[in-house]
Amino acid sequence: MSAHNHLAALNLLLTTQRPEILEKWTAEILKSWSKRLPNTFNVSEMRLHTAQLLEQVSQIFACYPTHGLWDFPESHPLALIMSEFSASRAVAGFTPTETAQYVMSLKSVLTLALIRVGITSAAELETNLSAVEDVIGRLTLVTFSAFVATRERIILGQSASLIDLSTPVIRLWDRVLLLPLVGVIDTARARKFTENLLEAITRYEASVTVIDVTGVPVFDTAVARHLMKTVDAAQLLGTRVVMTGLNPEGALTLTKLGITMPNVITRATLRTGVAEALALIGRRIVTIPSSQS
């Protein structure tokens, strides 16, 4: 096979000295991961994985094309192994650098070993080195894109669950609903909680809705606009809206924007807002005479 000829040195190295190369590579990885806590990865599992990987890489070098680039489709078993590995690192909270170093360190080990073999022909050395460069480089790219893809998926999942978790509509009393808003309000969240609120208002035929904005850190134009929409929509359904927990900065922003909310009852705290809401439906919280403290 012609492939055997032009990468003879590399292939010989990978057949005769594989245990040594594997040992050096593993040592390199352990060195770069030494800052990690011992329980974030399993050393014996990693040794197994590197052996498997080196086996696959050797196979690629064994049938590396003489001319042109090596064909590396996404469905290649090596690509699959690497994406899987990279994804597991991303989930375990490894940094991109640490993950990339895993593959990159193989390159330095192979390069060093090739030089030590003592190839006399400069052209032969170049062919061997560029093959190493090409294969490991593309493996690194696959690793990296799999890492990023996994991270993206994690982030997407988290923001979706955040939207679901952080916008509950609480039924405070028979016909009183409470919408506590916590955190930054963006368009997606605003739409979600408005939908939730409107649905709940119709379901419980709420006559009063308390919107508490104590937990909203920034009050800018966008937030004010979202809030106005929510309030308007809620009022169209026939509920009174009580807004509570606005801070002085928020009040300043709203006024500077020319938003006065004439139909909304505003109260300083959730406590007074709840009292107001109860009063609107003719209820009141009283002390039980026997347990007066």
Binding site: A251, T266, A268
Partner: protein
């Protein structure tokens, strides 16, 4: 010039005794707002009987303060607007839209108390509100 904001229970009083520069007016506005938030004020009376002239900026500050105070859950009354000032405000097309007006401080307080008494949260929580008074 710093304007004192004395407290009567959960009602805040402030009298603007002399013409304010634009910066002073804004400082007064932010002081009043933070005091409202601190004491969870139920009402505010602003006495401007000492002002002979109100320019458009001052009118705007009073207007804005009124709607901000409302957003913070306080009722607001402006009292003692002089005839000339009233005329200026109307001619500038800047009526004090956000606030109710009375002749003097006494009437202002009475009106305010009547309005506070109508509030749902006042009737519902006054048993527990002693620590504020």
């Amino acid at each position: 010039m710093r304007i004192a904001i004395p407290r009567l229970g959960r009602i805040l009083l402030c009298a603007i005794q002399q013409d304010l520069s634009d910066d002073d007016a804004l400082e007064f506005q932010s002081n009043l707002l933070s005091t409202i938030a601190d004491v969870e004020a139920l009402g505010v009376v602003i006495d401007i009987s000492a002002l002979d002239v109100v320019d458009s900026f001052m009118a705007r500050v009073i207007n804005d303060t009124a709607s901000m105070a409302r957003l913070l859950g306080a009722e607001i009354i402006v009292c003692g607007i002089q005839p000339f000032v009233a005329l200026t405000l109307v001619e500038m097309g800047q009526g004090l839209l956000g606030a109710n007006c009375t002749f003097n401080l006494e009437q202002g307080l009475k009106t305010l108390q009547a309005r506070i008494a109508l509030r749902g949260d006042f009737t519902a929580t006054k048993d527990d509100d002693e620590h504020f008074d």
